[in-house]
Amino acid sequence: MSLENALAARIRRLRKAFGTRLVFDAFELDVARGERVAILGASGCGKSTLLRCIAGLERPDDGTIVTAAEIGIVFQEPRLFPWLDVRQNVAFAARTDAERARVDRVLALVGMVHAAQLMPKALSGGMAQRAALARSLVRDPALLLLDEPFAALDALRRIELRAAVSEILDFTRASAILVTHDVDDALVLADRVLVLAGSPAEVVFSARTTDTAVRADVLAALGVVEHGTRSRRSALR
């Protein structure tokens, strides 16, 4: 099955179970070309499983997943090969001369040219994650899968890398699916925010991030009650 030009990923009737636990049943999702979708949800709601199914790391029990030919993936941990330096790690995924020629470009894109010769053990968490990001970009993917890529970073590194990813997505015009716990990551990076919940998981909330009031709605969909909201005040009365 081929993908229409307007789509970067299409998921139809996805079914996935671990043992007796049904994570997805008849789950559907379209990601438009160039669109950035953030998927939020509580731990264990299936958002990482969804990403792993799209990446081909988990086998769906049923249904179809069709994606753009080239996918890049960034995990929560950098997962650099410790026996290769930064440049070799980035070049690991390159298959053609054209892709090998991109190695320096993507290193520049993530701001790691100066560290290209360093071994992974010499990198800080933020630098290692930048190198991993560069590696995921080397094949010029039309779809970037981001599995909580900032979760292991401290607050400042998180903001820095988030801005870098945002710029890179603007620049490469790749589609992205971001799985995250963090509402602000989702609002900064994504065009559309989905909240997954339930078992099997379903989309319980979906909104475009252009709507400025969306943050409170996302939090409400995640079951977060902020102090000072009207509902809380009325509950207290």
Binding site: F75, R79, F81, A93, K121
Partner: protein, 256 residues
């Protein structure tokens, strides 16, 4: 003021020098007879004599050759069997229990059988060395393959690497540190077993020097053999460590 490095070097030399002095004093004064313990000068002279007659090189060469052959055989066998057992569940079920049972036998207990089957020639000695060197390498390799970070394998898989490419580009480099540690232990074992093999029956080798010294009550000859064993063992271990530093210097662990 002396540097810390210099002070440490001096500190390391104190005990060996004291022992050497005690040895010299005990033997030079005649308190201990030379058939009980030869003095440092006798040992040095014996070393010189052996070197001049060419017997030294013959014996060192013979032992090194046996260690090298036995170790090479053990390494290849461990590589094949370890890869099978580490890489395939079915091979593990078929092979590992038997190998573990054989491993439980103290390796020197095979000596009588080896002598009966293979006689007292080179084959028997090399076989014994190989048995000694095999298990450390095999065990380390299997553990190394088991211990490969599944997350790194997943990265390879996410880039669509074929099974052979995954083995070559991820599993082999990830396993190499453990394999080299196993090889270093295996080499130490090989030296241990060459002593045993040469003590049993040999007409050359450092172990032969030991038995020859014992039978003729020449403690200087025995001590020369012991010193040469120590030197050979130390040299081969240093070589293995250098190889480890060169090949797997990327590991993020405190060197053992």
């Amino acid at each position: 003021m002396r540097s810390r490095h210099e002070r440490r070097c001096v500190g390391r030399l104190v005990l060996p020098l004291a022992l050497l002095a005690a040895w010299w004093a005990a033997t030079a004064g005649g308190a201990i007879r030379s058939y009980q313990l030869a003095g440092p000068r006798d040992v040095l002279r014996e070393l010189g004599d052996l070197a001049q007659s060419g017997l030294l090189w013959r014996d060192v060469g013979a032992s090194v050759e046996r260690v090298a052959c036995g170790f090479a055989i053990a390494f290849v066998l461990a590589l094949v069997l370890g890869s099978l057992v580490g890489g395939s569940r079915r091979a593990e079920i078929a092979l590992d229990p038997t190998l573990q049972a054989v491993r439980a036998v103290p390796s020197l207990a095979w000596v009588p059988l080896i002598l009966l089957w293979l006689g007292i020639g080179e084959t028997a000695k090399i076989t014994l060395v190989a048995i000694g060197a095999f298990f450390p390498i095999y065990v380390a390799l299997v553990a190394g393959i088991r211990g490969v970070d599944r997350k790194l394998v997943e990265v390879g898989a996410s880039f669509g690497l074929s099974r052979p490419a995954l083995v070559l580009r991820v599993l082999v480099p990830a396993t190499l540190p453990q394999l080299l540690v196993g090889a270093r232990l295996g080499l130490t074992q090989a030296w241990l077993f060459v002593v045993a093999a040469e003590l049993l029956a040999a007409t050359s080798g450092l172990g032969f020097l030991l038995t020859d010294g014992q039978q003729t009550a020449r403690t200087d000859e025995i001590l020369v053999a012991i010193l040469l064993f120590a030197a050979c063992g130390k040299l081969s271990e240093s070589a293995m460590r250098a190889l480890e530093r060169r090949l797997v210097g990327w590991t993020d662990t405190v060197p053992a």
